[in-house]
Symmetry: C2
Subunit: 194 residues, 2 copies
Amino acid sequence: MTKTTREHILETGLDAISVQGVSRISLGPLAEKAGMSKSGLFAHFRSKEAVQLALLERADALAHERIVEPAMALPPGLPRLEGLVMRWLGWTSRTTLPGGCPVAAALFELDDVEGEIRDAVAKLEADWRDLLSRTVREAVDLGDLSADLDVAQFVWELGAIYLGHHVSFRFTKDPMADARAGLALEALFQRNAP
Amino acid sequence: MTKTTREHILETGLDAISVQGVSRISLGPLAEKAGMSKSGLFAHFRSKEAVQLALLERADALAHERIVEPAMALPPGLPRLEGLVMRWLGWTSRTTLPGGCPVAAALFELDDVEGEIRDAVAKLEADWRDLLSRTVREAVDLGDLSADLDVAQFVWELGAIYLGHHVSFRFTKDPMADARAGLALEALFQRNAP
């Protein structure tokens, strides 16, 4: 077995935050699921916050591997932007994660609290918006989208469609979730066509 | 003091679920905030689930009082629909609630669990979609929106804009949150103009 204990804890924990959310994770049950004692877990992470931060980092790394890297391999402009958005929507269901996107959930869990976990989530959200903004801007510069496009507004509406899809796909389990998001995206892209 | 103890527990609890979410509420801290013992609280509610269900019901009653009743007093068609949507977006901030919408948060908290709390949230979400659908249909029937409008799609997109606004207003605290939602709504209504 080459997998380190730390790796094993993080894999188990990522499954847990995908289901329960990053705020509701408890170290006792996590240690138990990982097959160790709570003090064994504390040998690898100094605090609950350290575990939560490492799990958010791991979720981000997984999103980059599954969404960003394959999208960046596509030609810049509309193909890359559409590739990014289509891989983003419902992305956790195309991994081995048992639940939803822990960052999306944290945007509702942590809106009214302060602290380093909220700050880490805010950074992930801002970085994601930057990535989307750069990719939209590239499509504008290449003439694939209107030169008048408001990048921040376009990205805001992409985010709203992502959240709407998350709820209809994961919570209400609407068989039309993908189709509804597709129609909303089509309207957004058409409105901003060159 | 005419307020019953049950009322007092529910008021305190509604503040708590607006901040923490309905899943993360604990009866110990709730009893303490309400100025009573945990066993005192159990004299009014037989279980944690009973408290959670009563709190969701109370959140729904508050939403009806603050959003639905004033909107229904407006003329049917576009005025009523727009009145409903504008009162819905960011509604908790126009009450004394200290946090966000507990139902919106629960759509992310409870997507991967089963049980009566999830069922209650699913019913509130479905009832809300029904109310929006009826109000959109009324605007179509009165000729205020296109006869070709897909009601389920229109309501899906309203829901996405609501969630996008919740995140940008409450989590990222974007001063442009209302303006961004307004532009997205304007585009949706224009696309479906008669």
